[in-house]
Subunit: 357 residues, 2 copies
């Protein structure tokens, strides 16, 4: 977009935003204060010509000319508490979560839109930290933040900051990767240890009397996934085990594909600290949220190649083969325990850890 | 998308959702309760194969084959209070707001994604009313709701329901409509009366001791805009005067285009009730939000044709020519009053009406 006079520059916003200050209702007015916030926080860090154009819409370039592909879209709301936690923050979470959902189709994520619901009194310093973290994560993921919106609610009607993101990607022809494509005989692989995100957020709340060295796994998986799909286009299913954890996500896939899935308990990678905290508090790591992990389901003959590719990547070092797809017990997930017994793992039910995604 | 086994059907969700019940934390867990909510409220009313496919992403069809156009994207968060108001609700507002932003580029809106942040205790009956209203508005607008997400916050950390929407549209080659394209000599037209939405929401709050017959103008403008752009592709600028009202929006355009804009006070259509309430409370209708109105800026020679097209449409009956674009006082909006005097209308500053969009 060629713009000789970008909106909201120069004389429109002469008053410098006080960086020690907090969000007030006027920042959601659409008027001068909103424009100051956009200028001095959002546009300052989200470097996009689409945003600078100052329209209520963006016209992103998509590589659609040769017709050989499809647009992919995904959306998420993010409400994590606390908003800053070991290994990440709500901004990194928002961008990673949506980038990862787009990736799970096999698509290359290209663009992100973000809308913010801010509570009156929220420190603008914190907003800026979050915005910087979003831009950094977007750069790591290879996406551009192209459109946004900000609304402000009265004190007591929100919780600091909520961020909704929508991702847009491009899926080249030749890849067919979906939750309904798992086949009996397929191998089930996880890209790393389970439960790191959920337990580190829980521990960061401080109300459990627990202090751990744990760090969230929150990360954009685009480079990892693009490497996998370019080398092994035969992958059947990719999905990130976020809310509800591995067990809930595999239940969804078993249901969608009409197959059974068997997991081998002693193959599932879990960090000792996560296992200990879970034992102490009565949680099961298989139901805890992850934000930088992916489940890969693919024909057995590509299993070793897939594991090798994963282990060569920062975000796949602890990858492991954890199970198989079966034609027996369709729709169900079965755990083979270390003691040789089996039990059915249901979808998460009841009240889990709130506010972790 | 061909899907033989849609997710979340049949045995996954055997327990009927209690419709007299309220949102609990578990509805945001990603587990069984989330799936019940998706099944029995969202998928029941948002009729989309993309949603039924049960993936975390959608692959919408875009008419990109012939290369003759561009994808258009826009995003918005919606936080209106009260959530039900005369003439609409937060669901109609969310779909209309985003459809309208996509339309303002000249594009045909095609798809909407929606993410919900629900407060624990929110009545599921109300959620269903809102979801039905969204679907109805989407059908009126000619768009499909293709992806969604739901999160739940603890009681006291939200305000019933917030909805973020992202719209995706297709802009055919040949149209160039943007905020930086207003030219001296252009006519400025408004599609109807100003302030109806803001004042009716304010009145619905009941804390002003005012009761009015006013009804919000909230509406998707896609059919109106598509009619206009197909008949008059020479339109320079389209923009909906939402937050900040007509005066703030025209200030943005004057700034983006580097032109002056003159408004004629006696030409600006305002319903008597809106004018009276504004006089009583010290508001200016030019700064009040509208949710079903569009500003059209176009070469003077198309003025009469544009007004005729508008007046023939339900949402343009009260359209009026209200001003002109000038080369003098670039970047400024000037009101010529009924008494022959002129004054500069600044962008909205300070604290306006909160929570109206």
């Amino acid at each position: 977009m060629d713009k000789s006079t970008p909106a909201f520059e120069g004389p429109v916003c002469p008053i410098p935003l006080q960086h020690k200050s907090t969000i007030v209702i006027g920042h959601g007015s659409g008027g001068l204060l909103t424009h100051q916030l956009i200028d001095q926080v959002f546009k300052k860090h989200f470097r996009s010509d689409y945003l600078n154009a100052g329209n209520d819409f963006a016209l992103p370039f998509l590589p659609v000319g040769n017709k050989n592909g499809k647009v992919v879209v995904s959306t998420d709301a993010h409400i994590v508490s606390p908003i800053f936690f070991p290994g990440g923050d709500i901004g990194r979470l928002a961008v990673s979560g949506t980038v990862n959902d787009v990736c799970m189709s096999g698509a290359k994520p290209l663009y992100i839109t973000s809308s913010f619901i801010l509570e009156e009194g929220f420190p603008i310093d914190n907003l800026e930290k979050i915005v910087i973290s979003m831009q950094k994560t977007a750069e790591e993921a290879g996406v551009e933040i192209i459109a946004g919106d900000t609304k402000v609610v009265e004190k007591g009607k929100g919780d600091g900051i909520f961020i909704s993101t929508t991702g847009i990607g491009w899926l080249a022809d030749g890849l067919e990767i979906r939750g309904d494509l798992a086949e009996p005989g397929d191998a089930v692989i996880i890209s790393g240890t389970l439960g790191d995100h959920g337990i580190s957020v829980l521990s960061a709340r401080g109300d459990l009397g627990l202090e751990t060295e744990l760090v969230s796994d929150v990360a954009p998986l685009s480079s990892l996934i693009l490497e996998l799909t370019s080398q092994i286009p035969q992958i059947h299913v990719l999905r990130d085990p976020t809310r509800g954890g591995l067990a809930t996500t595999l239940n969804e896939i078993a249901e969608q594909s009409g197959v059974g899935i068997e997991l081998y308990e002693n193959k599932i990678p879990v960090i000792d600290t996560v296992r200990n905290v879970c034992n102490l508090l009565g949680f099961d790591p298989l139901y805890i949220a992850n934000e930088g992990k992916v489940i890969i389901i693919l024909p057995e003959k590509f299993k070793d190649q897939c594991l090798m590719l994963l282990k060569n990547h920062t975000y796949g070092k602890n990858a492991a083969w954890i199970g198989n797809v079966t034609s027996s017990h369709p729709g169900n997930l079965v755990l083979k325990t270390e003691y040789g017994t089996t039990r059915i793992l249901e979808m998460l039910s009841g009240e889990p850890l709130p506010r972790i995604c």
